[in-house]
Amino acid sequence: MTEKTENRHGSATVTLPSDTEVLITRAFDAPAGLVYTAYTTPELVKRWWGFDTSEWLVCEIDLRVGGGWRFVTRDDGVEVAFHGDYKELDEPHRLVSTEVYEGIPDAEENGALDIVTFDEVDGVTTMTILVQFQNKEGRDGMLESGMESGMQIGYDRMEDLLREMQ
């Protein structure tokens, strides 16, 4: 899994460790320091975080514990805004921040905690993002942040199960 490859496109995986957590995992052929930099530098975040068609309105990062971040894009005329505060910064290994999607009611109360780790082995960095929602309202609210259907389910064997049953 950690061998360098020509192209890792499409290889991000999403699993559900519990009913209020989502774990995103992706490997990159780059050192951890560079991945961390791309994750925390506004000019670089603008290049990957939004959709291809996103117009950036705000991309602010105050990279210190207690500092905040805020990303606002406009997609198909709709403004989509997220913000949070940094709780832990251990460059280039680990980053913990809150994440609030501003488009849902009681946004602050329904926010999430993001625990991001960068693990480099032989020049390949595996990034994991554990999103811990405080409650189901927050989890469901993510659906409204402009996401569309994708490709695979995280629960082991559950996709096969679903296909068999339909």
């Binding site: 999403v14 559900l16 290049r47 990034m127 409650n135 989890r139 996401m147 569309e148 199960l161 679903l162």
Partner: protein, 116 residues
């Protein structure tokens, strides 16, 4: 403010499958109908445990039951898993695209570092 009327274990498919024993039950039922006794044998859980978890799965529509003589047969209801399936797919697609762009960016940044 928490909404007190919400009863998570009986109204939410996500919550119903968040419990490991209930996922095991769904896996076991994925291969076909079974009785409580068969599920007890296969999963090594007690009969009250199996009955309790089946009750939760039935309440959210993930499992249905039919009576045949004195036996009650349980089967999985796949379409009830759709909310979870859709939710994960949506989330995953967003992140796959997002991290593919990050991948391209990292390749570009390293190429810049390599060239003097």
């Amino acid at each position: 403010m928490r909404v007190m009327a919400r009863s998570p274990t009986t109204t939410d498919v996500f919550n119903a499958v968040a419990e490991a024993s209930r996922r095991d039950l769904l896996d076991a039922l994925g291969t076909g109908e079974a009785t409580v006794g068969e599920l007890v044998d296969r999963l090594g859980l007690s009969q009250p445990q199996v009955s309790k978890h089946l009750g939760v799965l039935r309440a959210v529509g993930l499992v249905t039951a039919r009576v045949d003589g004195r036996r009650r047969w349980y089967r999985i209801n796949g379409p009830a898993l759709k909310p979870i399936h859709d939710w994960v797919r949506a989330f995953e697609r967003t992140w796959i695209e997002r991290l593919d762009r990050l991948d391209d960016l990292l390749v570009e940044l390293q190429a810049q570092e390599d060239s003097p």
